[in-house]
Point group: C3
Chain length 208, copies 3
């Protein structure tokens, strides 16, 4: 497998994205009044979970296993979260940073899958998986209802971003502008959900 | 790895099997009154989950990632489930179709594992995994007790089918008739569970 | 990938470790009054889960898939657990055996990861994963709070062992003595938790 045109963020941005996701995992552990070890575990799982599942599915080496920094950043985030009040971190700022991370990773995940020769519809799913699965594993481990079964627009934003990247690829458009448009569209949609409480309708066809 | 004699269903049947499993995932999402995005996620996870875990374990490329149709079929099933009353789909017919899918995938999973050089006992487990793990992940995500911890005969039917395929392989019998017998045996056992409520006894040795 | 100096336990000890973990899975199934099939599934998942996740992450062939004995041992453990009162097996002896297994597998997992060229911090995590993830999957499947979210010292013991193995590797110390010291340290820490109820403090910085 010779992946061509593998997209990448500048390393600092990439680690920043991982750190934001890791922080959301560490904060959940803090809210559940867990120990430091659990907090570190949640930070790692949430920070790298989505990209890990994507890499396993597309047959790429798992990105953080041979990288000297990613896992260390997740541990560092857990340390910071442990020694500070969690109120410092929660609230609007984290939600907006998470929205930015979601959009960026949906682009990266989709583009990496396309570079590895994945077909269009599965490539779109790889974008969604990269953005969302870390949070899903975090919620399953904490035994709380996951983002998957809440009506809030979250996965949908990742799906929109991924779909635009795939569509741009099928139309053979130049990649960088497509990626920027895709990330902005997903960020805007998620932003509407944060700012206005936008949610999807639920299934309601009971045939009665 | 040069897998020899990889079994395959005619593509239409194979996609039909995936569609049935995907439908059972979509229907659970409908019963939980979820959104369309969740329904699509459940359809995908349930439709491809078992084969995905199998492929990761035996070191095969994940079957749906480079296939242009499988993921699209799961999304299509979710669309159909979304726009129709779920009562149309539930009940006996779906259970019997699921039993057929279970038996067929247990054969396919075991035979694929044997073709990849997997040892007999693990190969049997790959058949069980292919048939059952999609449903297990679906239930864990929905936070409901999974088929694994219910006494109903389900996994047992997949285990019977897989054991017959492995036994036939060890005895060097011609493959197609063994596969047919194995699928029929698992289908019949699962059918007894559906029609007669057949269940396994529970552990009851407390030493009192 | 040419892993050098892959550590290994004598096969009998290695299978004994798997059997102990498998037993803890089978006993949970017994306590939940499950069927034999569920018990076998829990034995397998708990016995091989941690090593499976580690092998997938580091890109090694999954250890039990091509091995003729490991899965069979897990099934054998389930048979023994099924036909005997679970009180025979529970209590202090099992806890101490589990502590020994935890320490041994944390060494093996870390050393295997280092042999496959994994970076130090992720290699430490592979040791933790090898020792603990089987139990985590077991608990998620049983829908009970996992060891991850209890304050008891368990994961911490695996982390101590793994950290010593990594430190010894970075300092280029001879491997066998480092591995023995690491295993003893983790076993002692876990032993203190069993004997004295040692636990970690919980997060408690609410900024109030």
């Amino acid at each position: 497998m010779e992946p061509a045109a593998l997209p990448s963020l500048p390393p600092v941005l990439d680690l920043a994205g991982t750190a934001i996701f890791a922080l959301s995992g560490a904060l959940l552990a803090a809210r559940l009044r867990q120990t430091f070890v659990t907090m570190a575990f949640f930070a790692l799982v949430t920070g790298v979970g989505g990209g890990t599942v994507r890499d396993l599915l597309i047959g790429a080496p798992v990105f953080w296993v041979r990288d000297p920094y990613v896992a260390a950043v997740c541990l560092g985030v857990a340390l910071v979260a442990w020694f500070t009040p969690h109120r410092w971190w929660e609230g609007q700022l984290l939600e907006w940073a998470d929205a930015a991370g979601l959009a960026a990773y949906a682009v990266l995940g989709t583009a990496k899958a396309l570079a590895f020769g994945v077909a269009p519809v599965p490539a779109m799913m790889m974008g969604v998986i990269t953005g969302c699965v870390g949070g899903v594993i975090r919620d399953v481990l904490a035994a709380r209802p996951s983002i998957i079964i809440r009506p809030e627009i979250y996965i949908t934003a990742a799906a929109l971003t991924s779909a635009i990247v795939v569509a741009g690829n099928l139309a053979d458009l130049p990649r960088p502008p497509v990626w920027i448009v895709a990330a902005l569209a997903g960020f805007a949609l998620r932003g509407l959900a944060i700012a206005r409480g936008l949610a999807l309708p639920s299934y309601n066809r009971d045939g009665n």
